[in-house]
């Protein structure tokens, strides 16, 4: 019987020096959520998403988001079949088990919202028909937050759809040397079919059964509430953030081989859950502050049980 550790190990063998990215992707998969990867170009964001899709099998689709992209390019469309004399539905890349939305902030808002609607509702409407998206279904989106030219910033309401936001940093010198050694001659080839879609669905069901103690739940709620009205924060995280913390804490516990979540699960995941859900005000920019530092301060201010 396959375990999520097999997927994690497979990803770790392909994605060198990014354990947080690997864990974030696997936990997002276990929690049945969508993952947003943010980082500079060339830090293996896309490779990480491809590796995850390859590891769990199923249908993988990649969409490179560009300014001229249309919603139908994502969801699908209806075309007239001259032979049959009828309109037939052509499903778009959204109908996949793992969808990679590369550089999601380079497409206009209506494309983003077409994708995000599918993410939330887990179904898509093409013409008069509505179709359920396949199970399991995960959107892995990448974004370069530092290159703002020609981008369409995602509003908070849409960012909130992502369960977790993982920052992809530069690897260490040692890891970078290993990357050059391994991949300079041949392109990285993800490991395929380490687990099946049935495995993933079973894992997801087992994650939902992980025990969440009331005090751990309260800790998650208190962390989310602490973002509201905090210094430098224009708008705090929504209740959906508390839900995300709860399910991700379960996923982390499951990945750790525990049948129950502990406060550390919540605390460790809080930055990645809250980062894209909190809007900082102008004073942070004036003071030259860093959003992650503000979040760290907020998290540190809430005592863990």
């Amino acid at each position: 019987m396959n375990t999520p550790h097999a997927v994690r190990d497979a990803l770790a063998r392909t994605i060198v020096g990014q354990p947080e990215v690997v864990d974030g992707l696997v936990m997002g998969l276990l929690a049945d959520g969508h993952v947003l990867l943010e980082g500079m170009p060339g830090v293996a964001k896309t490779l990480a998403c491809r590796s995850l899709a390859a590891a769990v099998g199923g249908i993988f689709k990649r969409v490179q988001f560009t300014p001229d992209l249309l919603p139908s390019d994502i969801v699908g469309t209806r075309i007239f079949d001259q032979r049959s004399g009828e309109f037939v539905t052509v499903r778009g890349p959204l109908f996949a088990n793992v969808v990679l939305a590369d550089e999601i902030n380079r497409a206009p808002a209506k494309v983003q919202s077409a994708l995000l609607e599918g993410m939330q509702e887990r179904r898509a409407t093409i013409g008069p028909d509505t179709f359920a998206l396949p199970r399991p279904f995960a959107v892995l989106a990448t974004m370069n937050p530092f290159d703002a030219d020609g981008t369409y910033a995602l509003p908070l309401a849409q960012l909130d759809r992502f369960l977790i936001n993982v920052r992809v940093g530069y690897p260490s010198r040692e890891d970078e040397r290993a990357i050059v050694n391994r991949f300079s001659a041949a392109e990285a080839e993800p490991e395929r079919d380490v687990a099946t879609l049935a495995d993933v669905e079973r894992w997801q069901a087992e994650v939902r059964a992980v025990h969440l103690n009331d005090r751990v739940r309260d800790y998650a709620v208190d962390l989310v509430r602490a973002t509201r009205g905090a210094r430098y924060v224009a708008s705090g995280a929504s209740p959906r953030a508390a839900l995300a913390l709860a399910i991700l804490a379960r996923a982390r516990a499951y990945l750790d081989g525990r049948a129950f979540a502990v406060p550390d699960d919540v605390r460790e995941l809080a930055p990645n859950v809250l980062r894209h859900r909190v809007a900082f005000d102008y004073r942070l920019a004036i003071d030259g502050g860093d959003g992650d530092a503000v979040l760290a301060e907020i998290i540190a201010g809430v005592p863990a049980p």
Partner: protein
């Protein structure tokens, strides 16, 4: 009817039964000797005296003058007592003390005074005005006057002659004692010189002093958890375990593991079980609590009982 005592200057009334006084200071002030005794409070005075706690003082030295009155009645206060007038002395304050007893009530009025100049400080008698119910005559019952000598400096000649004698007696006794000790010392020295030198046995090493171990928060927490296996006690125990691992106050299991590193895997196991006992599913908590106690018993050094 009254007897004057010697020394301390007490005035003692011979027989209180025969004295039977009804006092009325206000009434006496208005018409001494003419007012009827009926209706006035009755007071049987058995003692009225005054003395000082020093007979010779220096100028500026504080001393005390105590007026004592004993009455047969159970009285809460004795407003009828008139305190002495002071000459060449300054009243620094007074304190009244009441001591109820089986045979009546004692009142002590302590005046704190200091003498002004060399010579003598004198105190007029303290007194109580009253009416004799038998004869209807006004009476004044008073203590004797008191005089305290005020001497300059601390010269011996200024001191109390009795004290001088006592001092001399002590000096003689001290010198005598010293002489006796000296004689014993000489005899012991002579005897020692005649004896062979003793064999000196090496002194046994001093026994290690039993020092009470400092209070161990972990042991205390285990003890508390053993007696009350609830969430609050477990939280205290978890915190004690985290502190033992080296985590800062308010730290979590992860902080404790980071602080612990690979130093003490047994402690890491104990902490993990503590987390299970605290946050595990309901059906797992009781077994986890038992495991926790068992692990702690094995973990705590010297297998010292913890509860």
């Amino acid at each position: 009817m009254r007897v004057v005592s010697s020394g301390a200057g007490w005035i003692r009334f011979a027989d209180a039964k025969r004295i039977g006084l009804a006092c009325g200071i206000g009434m006496l002030a208005l018409a001494p000797g003419a007012a009827p005794a009926q209706g006035l409070p009755r007071l049987d005075i058995t003692a009225l005296g005054m003395h000082a706690d020093a007979r010779v003082v220096r100028p500026g030295q504080i001393f005390h003058v105590i007026v004592h009155v004993h009455v047969r009645e159970k009285r809460d206060r004795l407003d009828e007592l008139v305190l002495p007038a002071l000459t060449n002395a300054v009243d620094l304050g007074d304190e009244r003390r009441r001591v109820p007893g089986p045979d009546g009530t004692d009142f002590y009025e302590t005046l704190t005074v200091t003498a002004s100049t060399v010579g003598s400080a004198s105190f007029s008698p303290a007194y109580i005005d009253a009416i004799d119910p038998a004869s209807g005559r006004a009476l004044r019952f008073s203590s004797q006057p008191l005089t305290v000598r005020v001497a300059s400096g601390t010269a011996v000649e200024d001191a109390d002659p009795g004290a001088l004698m006592r001092l001399l007696r002590r000096a003689v006794l001290f010198a005598g004692g010293l002489l006796v000790l000296l004689a014993f010392g000489i005899v012991a020295l002579v005897r020692l010189r005649r004896r062979p030198p003793p064999v000196i046995q090496p002194a046994p090493p001093p026994a290690a002093r039993k020092v009470a171990p400092p209070a161990d928060p972990l042991r205390e927490a285990v003890r508390a958890y053993r007696s009350q296996r609830d969430g609050a006690a477990l939280d205290v125990l978890r915190n004690a375990l985290f502190a033992r691992a080296g985590a800062a106050a308010g730290g979590t299991f992860a902080d404790a593991l980071n602080a612990l590193g690979s130093r003490d895997p047994q402690l890491a196991r104990v902490m993990a079980v503590a987390e299970r006992a605290r946050f595990g599913p309901d059906h797992e908590r009781a077994p986890a609590a038992r495991d926790l106690i068992a692990l702690l018993d094995a973990y705590l050094p010297e297998r010292e009982p913890v509860g």
